[in-house]
């Protein structure tokens, strides 16, 4: 499943790159973060989608605590 989310308070371009990098380390995940569009495309296997998205959000907050994924 592939979904696109809006991101809020993503303030630093380098952090966006770091996040993208971190998310793509997750097994089965293909993520794409667009700093300029403040959005993210997240692709993961259907059955684990929600848990992976959860993990992804944690990873993102680790890099930039303010960032929020608008689900």
């Amino acid at each position: 499943m592939k979904k696109t989310y809006k991101l809020e308070d993503l303030e630093c371009a380098n952090c966006a790159a770091k996040m993208e990098n971190a998310l793509n380390q997750l097994e089965g995940v293909h993520a794409n973060i667009r700093f300029m569009q403040q959005s993210m495309t997240f692709e993961a296997p259907d059955e684990q989608f929600d848990s992976l998205l959860n993990q992804a959000q944690k990873l993102m907050r680790k890099i930039e605590p303010d960032v929020r994924v608008l689900v």
């Binding site: 380098n14 790159a17 300029m36 680790k62 605590p65």
Partner: protein
Amino acid sequence: MTKKQRKRLVRILAALALFIVVLFLPLQGVPQLLAYLAVYLFIGGDILWRAVRNILRGQVFDENFLMSVATVGAFALGDYKEGIAVMLFYQVGEWFQSYAVGRSRRSIAALMDIRPDHANLLLEDGSLSQLAPEEVDSGSRIVIKPGERVPLDGIVEEGSSSLDTSALTGESLPRETEKGGEVISGSINLTGLLTVRVTKTYGQSTVARILELVESSGQRKSKAENFITKFARYYTPAVCLAALVLALLPPLLLGQSFGVWVYRALTFLVISCPCALVISIPMSIFGGIGGASKAGVLIKGGNYLEALAKADTLVFDKTGTLTEGKFVVTQQKPVGVSADELLQWAAYAEQYSNHPIAQSVREAYGKTVQTQRITSAEELAGFGVRAVVDGAEVLVGNAKLMAEYEIDMGEAARQGGTVIHVAREGRYVGSLLAEDLPKPDAIEAVADLRRLGVKQMVMLTGDSAEAGQKVAEGLGLDGAYTGLLPQDKVEKVEQMLEGERTGTLAFVGDGVNDAPVLARADVGIAMGGLGSDAAIEAADIVIMTDEPAKIPTAIRISRKTVSIVRQNIVFALGVKGIVLILGALGFASMWAAVFADVGVAFLAILNAMRALYIEKAPAENQTAQLQRKVP
């Protein structure tokens, strides 16, 4: 400015004022330290807190950490003023970045402001109900008032009006539409009230597809972007390591004072922040894509923008791309009869044929056909038509048809091009020449591309060698490959791709039956994307109108964007490099370092914004003038 930004700006200004006050206070020793510390915590407290929090989360080498170490270090060395100044400027830089990104996002969004906000659904009882465009089903009827944005694609059932499509196509001339005509979502209804039968749901309609395309254009990142994010990953740790070496080695090995070298190392930490570098690249690319979409050129990703900038070979499809894709009778050569008679017989015989050539003949005739005069008409596929008009047998078709019926064409047999021969009662009465004429801006577009340094321009066509060569020569192309079937076109492009080349190869087609070729080329450009799903799907770059003159415009935009990106990379790396060297030698203070960091970000962002603004190509202006002459 968002609320958060305003709050931060107020804090920065307040901290600056406090800082100046403390600078002039006659304080000494501990009270002075405390005063400076208070200002420092006021402006940098959140950064310190973030640094601590991120380290606890296992996130080292982030900007907060670097800035914290640098400024705390400055305090430890007794350079209070510098500690505060570095933090202050860092905050100013961060604020400016966030402000500029917001601004550029908004101005690009404004360029792409084509999202309709409502649709007026026409109910059974004739009343209107205002709904979100997403809620309207295909097949419903909607009313579009003058001044409103067309919410969904559809067909006009009642009314006529002109539509402003400039936000979609970059074309300033309004399009006329009337009963039976198409309306395209995202355009603005200018003059009349329209009742429209919706043909596509919102998700499928032009406006939603374009918005989705622009929104997801960041998915295909440019090489420059990938390079710089990768670079940043190594740059920061490397500079930090260098700082550590700088702080320890000279004092330990050479016995020099720690203070001097620690200070130089802290300068390094300030410079090691990568954000200025990283931010300006996607910003420039996004600006270029936004600017292009304003001009009616949709670019599906930064990588295609880069590839287009390097294009030195252009391969064009002929029909519908360089030519109008429509036959026009350009010459009449009657033999022993009048031109009017020749045209009349041909038009009558071709009355029931759907062939494009038959259409051109009827159009050239221009008068109403009295169908009772036609007793029979028979289509002979691959040959032409045989009909009985006014009781006489009329043959209209190619030379093969004439040969089949053993009609002596005399001189006329030697003509080239698409010739329509006409015979009546077994006697040759003359011929008509039909041509698919080049688009009005095609010649200028080719000349313009030549000026841009495109080395090779060729045309592919399924047409005969004669017709193809004539168009290619007329337009000033380097050559034409003729008589090609669709699969031959792919093969030809593959051959060219394998050949020796320096730049990229772009294929320009209309997206109708050349999807495989569009996919195969380095850059696939589809023309006339407005309303054609196939074209939007298959191509990397979509030209919304069917003007070839947009191709040089697209190349100009991509080149400008790529050069802005390059300037930013060279500039940011250059300044950082120089300050690093100066810092290591002790010539650059922390002040210089933070100015370099913030200043570079500032200038790079301003430079990136230039990508948004585009000039029109000369060829495009010319088409606009040509079109204005046509009433």
